[in-house]
Symmetry: C7
Subunit: 94 residues, 7 copies
């Protein structure tokens, strides 16, 4: 079973916090939006602006940074995903 996101949405599987700390991600300032890291599982076709398709930048398999409160959590077949808009993604970790 697979989710095909609409428009410029992306399905992301979050990496858990321990994994993130182990790999060096640390959020020092609690007053700021807390970013998180995850793996892109599915990518929408892109949104349409004034009749022009805006292509997506991220692709399946990318490791991305995003804000903690971005998107909507869904759970399918006992796995958790987050569906967010590409504009919620801050950057790709290379």
């Amino acid at each position: 079973m697979k989710i095909q996101p609409l428009s410029d949405r992306v399905v992301v599987q979050a990496q858990d916090a321990d994994e993130q700390t182990a790999s060096g991600l640390f959020i020092p300032d609690t007053a700021k939006e807390k970013p998180q890291r995850g793996t892109v599982l599915a990518v929408g076709p892109g949104r349409v602006e004034n009749g022009t398709k805006i292509d997506m930048t991220v692709k399946e398999g990318d490791t991305v940074l995003y804000g903690k409160y971005s998107g909507t959590e869904v759970s399918l077949d006992n796995e958790d995903f987050i569906i967010m808009r590409e504009s919620d993604i801050l950057g790709i970790i290379q």
Copy 2:
């Protein structure tokens, strides 16, 4: 009796919660918007932006994910439906 949605609206019949849990949908975080699943019963012609028709992506029969508070509930001939905009639909379950 049938509802023809206007613009980019979609008529969705929600799957009830038990059915959703049985099929694996589980919402772990109550602080987040709770997504739901439903079946698309009718699709509008698409909205017009700057004189250009924006085609719809979802079609009748699609199983879709959407936020719990999306759209407006209506009941016709003793059946309940939700009328929402396509932009409220997060993805299609394949």
Copy 3:
């Protein structure tokens, strides 16, 4: 005496609640916006967007669904009407 609505506005005569329940409309969830049903009596010429006229979808005689708090109630010659924008209309009942 007749009202010619401006822009993309529509004059609707609401069907009363009993008539709606008798014909099957039932609003189960009070926390949601309550939709209502009515008959379209007059339709504006459509709004202009960037110099392009956007045609209206609904027409006189259509039975339409709309939110309870949509538009403005007016009363003329002892009859009550609601003037709303077409974007407040959720769908047409066929």
Copy 4:
């Protein structure tokens, strides 16, 4: 002394409440925006959108419906007027 409204503004002389009730206008629901009726005394040249002039629909002498709190009341030579945007006008009574 005469007011030439700017852009898409309209100068309206309100009909008083008694006159409105006598001619059949009645506002049954106090929780809703209360519409009123008036006569158009002067009409602006229309607003400009992306370099294109949008023509006005109403004209001098029209009887129009508008929301009670629309526009700005002015008084000149001991007469009261309301200056509102055409988008505040709901319809023309024919």
Copy 5:
């Protein structure tokens, strides 16, 4: 010393309240935005929208109506002026 307003701004010298009442301006409803009258002293070149210059409608010497809380009061060489956008001007008194 002279102020050259930027964009679609206008420098207006307010007529004082007595002058206004004497000439017939009277604001009957305190719950509404109170309009005022003034003389245009300087006019900006007009704003640019999508690369197109939008010409100004008012000109030096015009007597204009505007809302009481429109614009910013400045005082130069012991005289008070108001700098407002042309969109804050309701109409020209002829």
Copy 6:
């Protein structure tokens, strides 16, 4: 050391209050936004709107009026500057 402002931003050196009062600037109404006067030290290249560069109106050396709470104060090499958008500048004093 010099600041090159981005987009349609302007670096302004405020004239102090005494200098302003001495030269005739006086703000009579504390309920209104308090304007201030300064000298333009650096000007950005202009912002881009829909692919079109919008040229700047102010230039180095201009004396400008702006709202008291406009922009961001910065201090470099023991001198204070304000970086604001050109749209925050009300007018040029000639």
Copy 7:
């Protein structure tokens, strides 16, 4: 490990406060947004507006001024970065 920012985002490494004070940056007014200084480490490809790519102005190695609460702090491999949009950058220090 490197972050490739999306759209018009920029990865900035903040200069610490002592370094800033030593080099002359001083923020006198606590009621105003506090600007900060940093070094640009990575620059996104630019955002797309109506199908047109808007090029970035800042480049790797630039020293930039930005508001204290701009962007999102991330930490990777025990180093702290801020990911912000270019529009949050006030100017480049030359």
